[in-house]
Symmetry: none
Subunit: 130 residues, 4 copies
DNA sequence: GTGGTCTAGACCACA
DNA sequence: GTGGTCTAGACCACA
């Protein structure tokens, strides 16, 4: 029973939220290579969204080789390395953009550095000890 | 003659690009309280975009009290403090989101810290000496 | 007025037919860098299919950087080189598979070679001279 | 003991893989007229697939008169000529389609001809000497 | 006008 | 049961 939740009020599309959340679950090890994902219909029902929306997310995840489809059987988690490379690239790029914007708007380095530090000091709300 | 440039191919809407660029010019001091902005039509022509798009940007900037309109005279730059507070809030918030995403995806603190450092070490190509 | 036609009876999905046909038109030079493609709705009407189907084709073409989208304006043809590389790769790969299958099934080299020759001797039905 | 192997991750349906592989074994002479094929259940077990899937493959092979069923006894290999004609037709047709696509996409004749030559120069890894 | 997302629901092939 | 394609039609942001 995986924990995928979506925020219907977010401006980011539902299918993207699903993509990100599944990537995240693989990144932190809650989903492992070969694990079966919930079927399109099951996940759609659980999330209260249309199957097409889940289908779109799964199709994109497969295209990125983050998951793979076995016809008639379902979708399965691919290798963590594949996700890792892509996710790191994307996240670091968006982090970089945010930092550049901060710098270009005269926000002091120290402010940014402190903020990052604090984020990493926080518990992420999922039961991390320490 | 202000230098506002937009990237028509970017996925971020043109009107937002205008908002961000004007905010930035105020933040770094290239635009000062009371400076007159180009008229909607002038800027639209210069940028090669639809006047409605510039109008939308100006309207939003006015709504945020970053600029003000004197009817019959034009649009003028508001007080830097007003922009500063808003821009900082927005930028730091998006920086925070990026950092949280990085942390949630098991990207090490050191990687993020180093990236931020490097960004601030770069010259931003807009006339910083050194 | 571009000539995109689809075969509703083909087993290959409509959206793939659209993708292939547009790639082809770029490859042979009938569509050039910067050319505007018909809008999603227009093409859908012309082909007698649902706009979602065209949307899916365009989205995939954009993902492959064969076309690009300018928000609010439409879809435009990208650089021929990008298409060329991808299309060649795909076509030669499928050609290779077909040749391997022929060889593995004891079909003589000469039969295959002659067939390929004949195909290239044919006029392709679009008015090529010679 | 015939060597039929399937790739469960392939996009081509398992039942089709079985059909093609059995046809191939007949074409190269590893299966001869009158040879007994493994039973549906045996083959299904060996391949780790659902018996329905093997059943579907056998049914289609019988429909094409490539194999025949003796009720109560099992399935047997038909005459090589029957397979030969069909397989050649299919393979040459798909080869033709690939060649036409290549030509329509401005891929030079020489490129295609060389590719075919090379394929036939390769050892196919199934025990050809030299 | 443009493209992007989404729901509701059908139909198909495959296992 | 599984995923893939498609229609019909709505709603939204953007130019």
């Amino acid at each position: 029973m995986i924990l995928i939740r979506i925020d219907p009020y977010s401006r980011s599309p539902i299918y993207e939220q699903v993509i990100h959340r599944i990537s995240e679950l693989i990144m932190v090890g809650d989903l492992k290579n070969g694990d079966k994902l919930p079927s399109v219909r099951t996940l759609a029902r659980d999330l209260g969204v249309n199957p097409n929306t889940v289908q779109k997310a799964y199709a994109e995840l497969e295209r990125r080789r983050i998951i793979y489809t076995v016809s008639g059987k379902g979708n399965f988690v691919g290798e963590r390395d594949v996700v890792s490379r892509q996710v790191s690239d994307r996240l670091l790029e968006s982090l970089r953009e945010a930092a550049v914007a901060a710098r270009n708007n005269a926000i002091p380095y120290q402010t940014v550095a402190t903020l990052v530090e604090r984020v990493y000091d926080e518990t992420d709300g999922e039961g991390k000890d320490e």
